[in-house]
Symmetry: C2
Subunit: 335 residues, 2 copies
DNA sequence: GTGAAAGCGCTAACAG
DNA sequence: CTGTTAGCGCTTTCAC
């Protein structure tokens, strides 16, 4: 049998209440009883029951983290940030994965709610479904979207400036004379895709260049996808002097295909990724990409979530973390 | 106010108990009341309180997962496996990271116990500390070590055959005439390091080759480490025709240094990694490595943990998942 | 300083 | 088929 407050109370002759006070370091307890009780607790291997405790306390000190795709190091990094701040603040994390499936997302959140999480950090899918939005609006706890948004609930998001990022990528390419760009964009149901597509269009507009025929593919985001997309483009006889990728993982597949097709990077084709994963600097050629502050994103999300937990009246407010185009060896133009 | 069983009971005129039964789909409840109550529950937006429920039930349906280093995709993959099986079995996961710190490991586990987890899956550090072993022996819940072991508690481990893996690497290299091998081994306080070192020695013994002067470095496991180690080795004038790496991440750093030093892989130097991360196939040259069934490891760990949760009498038993040397472009010898 | 009593939301044991 | 009672381990309120 596991030791409880009662066990200790019986063993020391004090009341359950006094034991509880001592173990919570409540004031107005004599030093003597305190050491006595603490000694006994230690001796009996007492482990406080946080579950029982949270039945009476208003907070469970648990948050739910809903990740989209655990096989992508991008999300691992974000969660690391969340984890770090959560630890600082004393929260435990319940974690689940949706694999980009909106109904799994809702299901997970229901499970978390049932476990009485104090708040949620979510990387959501399906930015536009009305039903999905309604689901979130009805949530009884604070929630923050990390790195993505849901239409109509933009306030709840901590974002990285997707428009800026992709605009800077295209501005760079357009300024350097590229006019046929293969744009391997992301899945249609995540908000980053739309945001980056807008960034691209802004670049064309800002430079007064008409986007001729568009070479756009929407991919799921795996290396395979990038590999196949380039093969397809090549087979179809598409011409392009640059490939812009939705993420670094796609870019890896792209580099592979290009290399197999004897196209030299960056001489024949320039390639730019997105996310700046740790691995990207070790690609050959080292991948130029858009650096996203992944860790900071998670850290910030947890920080803001906590503020909303502490103060439910606090109005929500989008934040946009800055991104930065990182030039490495897969690009060669004038910066 | 959140709806509870009581709220629903009052709203429908039934007792709390009846409501509870309906919502748990208990038998012997008339269809009529059942639909009535379920309807009301839906209407009130009732969310069951799993916390309160687990105060009375013997199981909390929560497990604790203690990962070692969340920045390494190896562990993400393992956790993905755990997660998949956990979901199948209906468990929620509490996750924490130790960053290879043994006291953080114990601290995390205490927190998890205090949250009444039904069991633990741990990637432990400090294989040899008596105190650490004692800590685990005293644990009041079932626990499984994934991919590593602690001396004296080997039974609790689901492993991947580290000896076999490293032996096959060295046998390959020795058979192909390599006699000066730079061996970038792992951190001294994780069990895989020792196991793989033994595998290496077995290879020398099996082939009757005396390991001349040893070129062994023990690294923490980051890409930087591999990069610096090769630079150091080169600066010291060490000669080697092959580099064996503790993991693929180290190998990335190694490839980078080699390339910068105009050493051609595999012509001048063969390089072999360990883990077979998704990225490794996209390295240039594509990395030869030892494939470890990461996902299966996690999946299996959760499966076995559940067996022990269901039946606490069940004796623990080490399992060893097979590994396989994968040849790609960073090696060139006869297989 | 310390104790007694109530109750968080739920399930289980017993009753009818 | 349904209700009553007790209690999980803890914290809170109110006493003294």
């Amino acid at each position: 049998m596991r030791a409880t407050l009662k066990t200790i109370a019986e063993a020391t002759g004090f009341s359950i209440n006094t034991v509880s006070r001592v173990l919570r370091n409540d004031r107005r307890i004599s030093n003597e009883t305190s050491t006595l009780i603490k000694g006994k607790a230690e001796e009996l291997g007492y482990i406080p029951d946080a579950i029982a405790s949270s039945m009476r306390k208003p907070k469970s000190m648990t948050i739910g983290v809903v990740s989209a795709d655990s096989s992508n190091p991008f999300f691992s990094e974000v969660i690391r940030g969340v984890s770090e701040k959560a630890e600082e603040l004393g929260y435990q994390m319940l974690i689940g994965n949706t694999e980009e499936n909106a109904s799994k997302e809702e299901h997970l959140i229901r499970l978390f709610l049932s476990r009485k999480v104090d708040g949620l950090i979510v990387m959501p899918t399906s930015e536009k479904e009305e039903k999905h939005k309604a689901f979130y609006s009805a949530l009884p706890v604070p929630y923050i979207f990390a790195g993505r948004y849901i239409e109509g609930l933009e306030d709840h998001s901590i974002l990285h400036s997707d428009e800026d990022g992709e605009r800077s990528v295209f501005e760079y390419l357009l300024r350097n004379g590229h006019r046929s760009i293969l744009y391997l964009s992301g899945p249609e149901n995540v908000s980053n895709t739309g945001a980056r597509d807008r960034g691209m269009e802004e670049a064309f507009r800002a430079l007064g260049i008409a986007a001729e025929k568009k070479n756009i593919f929407h991919l799921a985001g795996h290396a395979e996808d990038g590999y196949k997309a380039v093969n397809t483009a090549l087979n179809r006889g598409m011409e392009f002097s640059a490939v812009v990728c939705f993420n670094d993982i796609i870019a890896m597949g792209v580099l592979k295909s290009l290399s197999e097709n004897d196209l030299s990077v960056p001489d024949d084709v320039e390639v730019i990724g997105y996310d700046n994963l740790m691995f990207s600097q070790f690609m050959k050629p080292a991948l130029s990409t858009v650096d996203v502050p992944k860790h900071r994103l998670g850290y910030k999300a947890m920080e803001v979530l906590n503020e909303h937990i502490e103060n439910p009246e606090l109005p929500y407010r989008t934040e946009n973390l800055p991104v930065r185009l990182v030039f490495r060896d897969s690009t060669a133009g004038k910066r």
